[in-house]
């Protein structure tokens, strides 16, 4: 199954709509609740990142029998130093983002913690791409 969602940067009223929709799909597919929680939390953090930092973004979700993969591609300022952005506590968020309860520099590291595999690439001035994978079968995930 493949799903595609568009997100607008800066629009906090809609942040979380994609994660909410995907959560409902995973529930319909009877995906294990604990695994589903890891996926939707990471997806939500990723979605908030696009709303908080980018101009616009696309989320592609791919679900098969063995894994859920999502790729978030945004057009925006990009990340100058990915290693630093992954550090807990490092953030470039605006005061508006902080008022919403985010921007403490936990988003990317929290996404990684919830993943089995996560890759980030970015071109400063152009945008960022995050690829997240979670295996549905625990035997595969922990091999």
């Amino acid at each position: 199954m493949q799903l595609r969602y568009e997100i607008a940067g800066g629009d906090f009223t809609k942040a979380g709509n994609v994660a909410s929709a995907v959560k409902k799909v995973l529930r319909k597919l009877n995906i294990d609740q604990a695994i589903s929680k890891h996926i939707v939390i990471a997806l939500y953090e990723g979605e908030v990142n696009v709303v908080a930092h980018a101009y616009s973004g696309t989320i592609d979700v791919e679900i098969d029998n063995s894994m859920v993969r999502f790729i978030i591609t945004d057009t925006g300022p990009g990340i100058d130093d990915i290693e630093k952005a992954m550090e807990e506590g490092y953030s470039t968020a605006t005061p508006q983002v902080r008022e919403m309860g985010f921007g403490a520099g936990m988003g990317l590291s929290n996404m990684k913690k919830n993943s089995d595999s996560m890759k980030i690439s970015s071109v400063p001035g152009e945008g960022t791409k995050v690829e997240f994978i979670k295996y549905l079968n625990r035997d595969i995930a922990y091999k």
Binding site: T13, G16, K23, Y44, E99, G101, A104, M106, N110
Partner: protein, 114 residues
């Protein structure tokens, strides 16, 4: 403890989903930082917060939290309430501070997470 009992302890007023007051709560987490809330893995959690926006509800939805207590009588907007209803989430307003709410619930046997 049920959400109904918890509401009494914090002198709260239930804003929505009164039909869920018999749901059990075992843990509480008090935070205005939603990324922090998104790290909790336990079930049957009540979130205590001073932040009143839709992201509190979205965060709770993703974290499977089904009760949120707002401290200091925060004004809870219609958009927050309708999103909470969609997710069968009980919202409670309390006149007390987040510190006070956390204190009385801890004393009543609600467990902390970290």
């Amino acid at each position: 403890m049920t959400i109904g009992e918890l509401t009494g302890i914090v002198n709260g007023r239930v804003i929505c989903c009164e039909d869920k007051l018999s749901t059990n709560v075992e843990y509480a987490f008090a935070s205005d930082l939603m990324s922090d809330v998104l790290t909790v893995e336990q079930e049957n959690i009540v979130l205590i917060t001073g932040l009143a926006n839709t992201q509190v509800i979205r965060t709770s939805e993703m974290s499977d939290i089904n009760c949120v207590v707002f401290g200091r009588d925060k004004k809870i907007g219609d958009q927050i309430i309708s999103l909470a209803k969609e997710n069968n989430m009980v919202l409670v307003e309390s006149p007390h501070s987040v510190f006070h709410i956390a204190g009385v619930l801890y004393k009543a046997g609600i467990k902390s997470i970290y």
